[in-house]
Structure formats: C-alpha cells, structure tokens
Symmetry: C2
Subunit: 242 residues, 2 copies
C-alpha cells in the first residue's frame, strides 16, 4: 500500500484518492486538541468552517471551541489549546469546533473512504487504524492559510516512517519522501528545529507556547477521531485503538 | 529581502507576490533545456501551453520543441533534452516550446514583477540577477502534474542558500526552510538522492537519463532567460549575467 503527504489543502485536489484514508493534521493545534478532548471524554466534536456557524451553535446552548489567528474567540467556551478541554468540562459532552486551518481541511476531504484526525499525540493510534483498514493513506496537512508549514509536514513524515517500517506501506510520491526525510533528519531535535518556524513565532507572540511540548510528544493519546457525516453535519467521534 | 519557494503551480495563488521576481524551475528538464538553448545562441523561446498551439506554429514554419510525458512529440523538431538544442540547430533562431509542466508554470506567473527561468545549470546567474534587481524572490517549482517533486524543490533550496549567504535574503516562509534544508542535507550526493524519485523512474523507463548529470551540475550556463510579453505572446529572451 501507499502513503502520500499533501502539503496544503490547496493541493488536495491533486492528491485526492477516493479509496484512501485521509489523515488530517494540524499539529499546532487543532488536531492535537481534538485528540486531547477525546482522551478527556468528549462525546463528539462537530467541526464547522466559520466563526458565524460556531456563534449560531453557541446561541443555541452548545459548548463551543473557536479560534482565529491562534487566539480564542471571545464568545467561545474554549480556544484551541489542548489544555482547555479538561475532563471536568468536556466528559460526555458534544462540542462545536472551528479553527483557522484545521477544520477546513476536514471539510475538504470529506468524500474520502475515511477521514480521521492525527497529530503526534496519537501517532501510533493513527498508524494502527491505517493498518487495520489496510488502505492507501493520504496525510492532509492543514498548513497556514494554504501555505506549507513544517510541523504538519513533519507529522506526515513520521507516519510515513512508522507505516513503512511495517513493510506494508511505501511512499506514493516525492512529497512523501520529502516529508519522511525531514522527519528522519530532525526527529531527535524537534523543539529546536521548530523554534524558528512561522507558527512558533505566532504562538510565542501570543504567549501560547505552553502546549508546544505536549503537541510534539508522541503517543500520549490512544484514540483516533473519525469523521461521520450525519445529514449535512460533520461529526468526529472517537474510535478506540484497534 | 525574502525568498520563498512555491512547491507546485497549484499553490502559486497562495505564494503570489506581484512585486517579486518569480524563478520558474523545471530541472528535469524544461528550464535546464532553455538555459542550454540560450547558451547555444537561440534568439528567443516562446513558451506555449498546448501541443495544438505548437503544431500551429510548426505548420507556419517555426522551429518547435515539444514534449509530453518526457517524450518528444512526433511533429516537433526538438524534444525536451538540453542536448537537442545544438548551436548548429538553434543559433540565431526563434523557437516555440511546450512541455508537460515547465511552460505552464511560466504562464501562471506572468503578472509578477519579472519572470525568469532557472535550473542548476544557471544557478549563480539567477542569483546574480536577483541581487541586481534587489527584489523579493519566489521560486515556482513546476512539479509533475501539480504534484510536488524533489528536484525542483532542491533547486529552490539551493537558491535560498546562495541568496541567504549574501546576507541580503532570508527565507520568507516554512516552505523556503524545508527546501533549504533538503538541499543542505543532500547537495553532496544529488544523483544518489534523486535516483529513487518519481521523475528519474520516468526518464529511465524512456532511456532519457543521459542528460541527468548535466541537469544537476551547477553553473555551466551564465545566462538568464527572462520573460517578455509582446501583445498576447510570451517570449523568453536572454539576459546576460549582471
């Protein structure tokens, strides 16, 4: 089987494979936060594309996580930090969620065989999910406003490495090779490698770098958020590790 | 000043900077071939997007280079090998040129401050051109059918390195950093690094790998092809190294 890495949502039409599992990643921080929320017992997360939609849900009494340009939206219950979603606040609850980049990528990929979300925190769980289904995989990097970013590409490379090591997957294109090599060259030194990147600068400027070590530490979460489509609504639900 | 690397024509709208010099690159082989043709005295190259346009020019008596899926089109005088464009055949001549990926990228970028073509063969000349103009730079990788490829990204990384060493340029985004690091990690071993890539497989399958060492050797050409727009027509002309 093949694994590919799509570096930006703007490239997704080129990498679309209707028979593949799409792994949407937004390391800083949407898909890390989703994994943390499921670890802490959230029942479902509904990704919505716009702040307006999120506000409408809030007005109807839903719990809402909303972020734009790394900051929590004023009206929201939660921002985009994994530390916001504590068991006390989210266990057993349904949450609406919108972020600058991560939720849009989920919408774009919704016609794939399966859409799940991944991040370093649930890397092995995502790999196990792919192996269980035995399908081609496309990692869809959320990027930043359609530009390529380093942290999501690194996650793509990590998943290429983990799946290739099983002997069951190989890189589909040059993009998967680029991501894999980036990961191999920098995996022992992630925080230092990411220090000068665009998104780290944004997080630091807003005093939001507290979650960075959590975002970059593999396998603290053993669940996989998987997309279901209920009527017109996208809903992420937890899949236990296979 | 800043230098960015756009990994695919499909991403170009996201990286477009109307004040920048756009360096279109298609290492295998369109922009290498263009550089070689100018070195051998071609007067102008008109990039056209479709095989049909190239055929119309041929019917009117023009010299035509045309390639699709690495192979020369039957009706054409030249394919996409730099070795096709010998001084005997091209000196003083105007040539029409269409290739699978490289000529399309030129068309996409035509509204930038300047559009030039670059490849390893004229790397330093391209860098000198950028320094002379003192503008931001966007390297536009031609890729393969809008997918990211390794060889064009490596060229982007090489130009980031050369320009950053002058102290006058820095990487604009994570994409430029990714490209630079790929180049730094592999520049001493380019042929081995590229051996397992998608495009090398295509070239080998068609017995077209003879030009690979030429394509990967820096600075055998000291000219820069620069785009001019004459009415509706795109024309590349030679600019001497500054």
């Amino acid at each position: 089987m093949k694994i590919d890495v799509c570096f930006s949502p703007a490239l997704y039409p080129v990498y679309h494979n209707p028979e593949a599992i799409v792994v949407v990643v937004d390391v800083f921080r949407a898909t890390t936060t989703m994994a943390a929320a499921f670890k802490h017992g959230v029942r479902s997360i509904r990704p919505v594309a716009t702040v307006e939609e999120a506000q409408e849900y809030k007005a109807k009494g839903w719990l809402v996580g909303a972020e734009r340009n790394v900051k929590r939206c004023d009206f929201a219950d939660f921002g985009n930090s994994p530390f916001d979603y504590t068991p006390e606040k989210v266990a057993g609850k349904d949450v609406i969620f919108t972020t600058t980049n991560g939720t849009r990528a989920i919408t774009i990929a919704k016609s794939a065989y399966r859409v799940i979300t991944g991040a370093f925190v649930n890397l092995q769980a995502v790999a196990d999910y792919c192996l269980f289904h035995g399908r081609d995989v496309v990692v869809l990097c959320s990027g930043w406003q359609d530009k390529v970013n380093i942290e999501d590409t690194l996650f793509g490379g990590a998943l290429v490495e983990v799946l290739a090591k099983t002997g069951k997957y190989r890189p589909a294109t040059d993009a998967a090779v680029i991501a894999r090599d980036m990961w191999t060259n920098n995996k022992r030194n992630l925080i230092a490698y990411l220090a000068p990147t665009d998104h780290m600068a944004r997080l630091k400027a807003n005093h939001l770098e507290d979650a960075v070590p959590f975002c970059l530490t593999p396998d603290s979460v053993v669940v996989v958020p998987e997309l279901a489509i209920e009527g017109e609504t996208l809903v992420l639900k937890k899949v236990m590790t296979i």
